[in-house]
């Protein structure tokens, strides 16, 4: 018996069909408001989906922006070469300027020497021995040497590294200045307490934070 035979045999059972129909009529009625609840659920899941998509989009955009920023800021193969070329050009220009300056100085010296010689000839003075000035020797560019920082990054690797190094130097300078100021203030304060210069002398701190002993009557700073 194949599928069709079974199907036909089953389908033609009118009594069973009627029984199933009656059985189905007894089942629970469809609950009211159920479809509205489903629509609300679907709306919620739709909102969640949109929110998730928005979040993912934002994260992707941020990641791309961060990646672009990193690519732009971090030195890579191409930019290192460019930076070295840039540094070379600067050093070469500096060397050229130096050579030109040397040549000019030499020319001036020679001129002066010749004037002196002329004077000596007129005055029958013994001829001075003219010092032979050697032509300017081209120096090797200094900047080609790489100065590495504590982390091993070359300072002249890129303009950004030079900027960072300069900023760090400025910060160091400020720290040293503050330390010196503090030491100086401590010394002045201690000296003033141990041996005050006069009765009208007072300790005054100026805008920059420096302590000074001022004579109130004369309105002058007293050097301790």
């Amino acid at each position: 018996m194949n599928d069709n035979d079974i199907n036909n045999k089953l389908r033609h059972d009118a009594q069973l069909r009627e029984a199933v129909w009656r059985h189905e009529q007894q089942s629970s009625p469809f609950p009211t408001g159920l479809n509205e609840r489903v629509m609300q659920e679907v709306g919620k899941s739709e909102q969640n989906r949109r929110r998730t998509r928005h979040r993912v989009g934002m994260m992707l955009a941020l990641t791309s922006a961060a990646a672009c920023l990193l690519l732009f800021l971090l030195p890579h193969g191409g930019s290192t070469k460019e930076a070295v070329e840039e540094t070379k050009t600067i050093v070469e220009t500096m060397t050229e300027t130096k050579t030109i300056a040397k040549t000019e100085v030499m020319a001036l010296v020679e001129e002066k020497e010749s004037v002196d010689l002329h004077k000596s000839v007129v005055g029958k003075k013994p001829r001075k021995k003219v010092r032979k000035i050697e032509p300017a020797i081209e120096t090797k560019p200094v900047a080609q040497e790489q100065y590495a920082d504590t982390l091993g990054n070359h300072i002249f690797q890129s303009p950004e590294n030079v900027l960072i190094a300069m900023k760090m130097l400025e910060e160091c300078d400020a720290v040293i200045r503050n330390e010196l100021q503090e030491v100086r203030n401590n010394v002045i304060d201690a000296t003033f307490r141990v041996a005050p210069p006069s009765g009208s002398a007072i300790l005054v701190k100026d805008i920059s934070g420096d302590l000074d002993v001022v004579d109130r009557e004369r309105q002058r700073i007293i050097e301790l």
């Binding site: 089953l10 009594q15 199933v20 189905e24 609950p31 479809n35 899941s45």
Partner: protein, 203 residues
């Protein structure tokens, strides 16, 4: 020219026209569902909701559980409508399949008893239906009583076949089974029902 042939031709044209119109309508409806249009979603719930609820109710038994599963079915169907392939099954069959799977998952999560349709069952054709010496109305009443004693899976199969008028292929798609298995299963259920009403009459 035979007037019957002419009439037949016009009837054919008319029926074909209606069929094409219905097909176009269904395609537009599915496209609207894919575009997540609320009007289409409401129509889907109104048109297919009772059928899905009946199936779920038949399987899980309790109204509260059936409502929960029903919500899950439609949320799943409406969010995954893009995966619906009209060449594989109709929208009703696809929804029934989701409903069946969700109900089975619910039953399993509640550790309730449910007999799954097994393809490895002996596919034996059942020929010998016991003869019943009752009138038609009495047989129907007895069959109805006997149906209440069947497991939920068997009641669901009978409902799909006799009430929803689904083919064996469609039921096989819904239950992820083989049409032959479904046929054998239905034959066995029928035999069981007639056996039960014979027992009732003997008592």
């Amino acid at each position: 020219m035979n007037p019957c042939n002419v009439l037949g031709f016009f009837v054919y044209i008319r029926v074909e026209g209606i069929r094409k119109f219905m097909e176009r309508e269904t395609n537009e409806f599915i496209n609207d569902l894919r575009r997540r249009k609320p009007a289409a979603q409401r129509r889907l719930l109104a048109d297919y909701g009772p059928m899905v609820f009946r199936l779920v109710m038949r399987m899980v038994g309790q109204t509260e559980d059936a409502e929960e599963v029903y919500q899950d079915v439609f949320v799943k169907a409406l969010t995954r409508i893009s995966s619906f392939d009209e060449r594989k099954a109709s929208l009703a069959t696809w929804l029934s399949r989701i409903a069946y799977n969700e109900s089975v998952n619910h039953i399993r999560s509640r550790r309730m008893d449910f007999v799954l349709i097994d393809d490895n069952e002996m596919e034996t054709a059942v020929e010998d239906i016991p003869s019943v010496n009752h009138d038609n109305e009495q047989v129907v009443l007895l069959l109805e009583q006997a149906m209440a004693l069947l497991p939920t899976a068997e009641q669901m199969l009978l409902s799909l076949f006799y009430y929803e008028n689904r083919s064996l292929q469609e039921i096989a798609y819904i239950t992820d089974s083989k049409p032959t298995t479904i046929g054998s299963r239905l034959s066995r259920i029928r035999k069981k029902l007639y056996g039960l009403i014979q027992q009732f009459s003997e008592q």
